[in-house]
């Protein structure tokens, strides 16, 4: 995806990777990495691996690891939308598999947190093999934002 040309951008990417992947055992087990980020948006990639295959005849990744990728990316996009760190939890996640995934190719998920309220965040996402216009899955999710344990004011949430 977008090549990082500024050293700062690479440094931020590394820090986000530490937060979204390094601190989350299952994301680390899947080998997720940060592809791109900007406010309210996050893209994570799931590398193709033989031990994540769901159907050895087609050699396509199992839907389960794509669900984990999408859940992780959507949650990360919510964090990217908050002014202060908060604990969040997935309330619901819907995934439509609009075309079959291809074998031996990494899956990239791009998520956009398009609305944040006091307690709830709304996210849309697409999973693809590199061409956003030709997704393999589309998704929408909602997340609960827990109150800041230290301060009970709402100043952590924009808008």
């Amino acid at each position: 995806m977008a090549e990082s040309f500024l050293p700062q951008k690479d440094e931020i990417r590394r820090r986000l990777e530490g937060r979204y992947v390094g601190a989350v055992p299952h994301n680390q087990a899947l080998g997720l990495r940060v592809v791109d980020y900007r406010p309210e948006h996050l893209s994570l990639a799931l590398p193709y691996r033989a031990d994540l295959v769901g159907n050895p005849e087609t050699e396509v990744l199992h839907g389960g690891c794509i669900t984990s990728l999408i859940d992780a990316t959507c949650g990360g996009a919510v964090i990217m939308s908050l002014a202060a760190p908060r604990r969040i939890a997935t309330l619901d996640l819907r995934i439509d598999y609009v075309r079959p995934a291809l074998p031996h190719q990494e899956v990239i998920c791009g998520a956009h947190c398009y609305k944040v309220t006091r307690h709830v965040a709304f996210v849309r996402a697409k999973a693809h093999h590199g061409d956003k216009a030709n997704p393999i899955a589309t998704a929408s999710g909602t997340f609960v934002i827990f109150p800041d344990e230290g301060r009970r004011t709402e100043d952590g949430v924009p808008k």
Binding site: H26, P56, G64, D71, L93
Partner: protein
């Protein structure tokens, strides 16, 4: 064992072991199936790499989706006539409670099973089957051999 042979083996023996062994991701996740009183029960054995939040601690939401999708497919294969793996059209997961770091079980129900499409509800639970931690609704395309 090839996947299709594993499906045939499952229907003959009622044992999901060869099916689990034929699916690399099921081995990676520790997801298996078993027949309990003629009902297909999915099980995901706890492992440290399934954790999503190490502070709480809680299992990753995606792993519950994976268990529920797998359990629906196990049930479709057990009751089906073809050896082709059903294709997931979509899945909606509702998260009801945090998943503690221990084994998770799942039970599936067909809301409708047609010739081409199956509508399945799946319930994931830990200690109490009547107290689900997550519920899923999924649609599958039933592929002919």
């Amino acid at each position: 064992m090839r996947l299709r042979d594993a499906v045939v083996d499952l229907r003959q023996t009622g044992d999901f072991t060869s099916l689990q062994e034929a699916i690399p991701y099921a081995r990676f996740m520790g997801i298996s199936g078993e027949l309990v009183d003629d009902e297909v029960i999915g099980r995901m054995r706890y492992s440290d790499h399934l954790v999503g939040n190490a502070n709480v601690p809680a299992l990753h939401g995606g792993t519950l989706g994976a268990l529920m999708e797998s359990t629906a497919i196990f049930k479709l294969l057990w009751h089906g006539e073809t050896t082709a793996i059903p294709k997931t059209i979509n899945i909606t997961v509702e998260y009801l409670r945090g998943a503690r770091p221990q084994d998770v079980f799942a039970r599936a129900e067909f809301t409708r099973r047609g010739r081409r499409v199956a509508n399945v509800r799946v319930f994931a639970y830990q200690d109490d089957p009547d107290c689900p931690i997550a519920v899923a609704t999924a649609h599958f395309l039933l592929v002919q051999d």
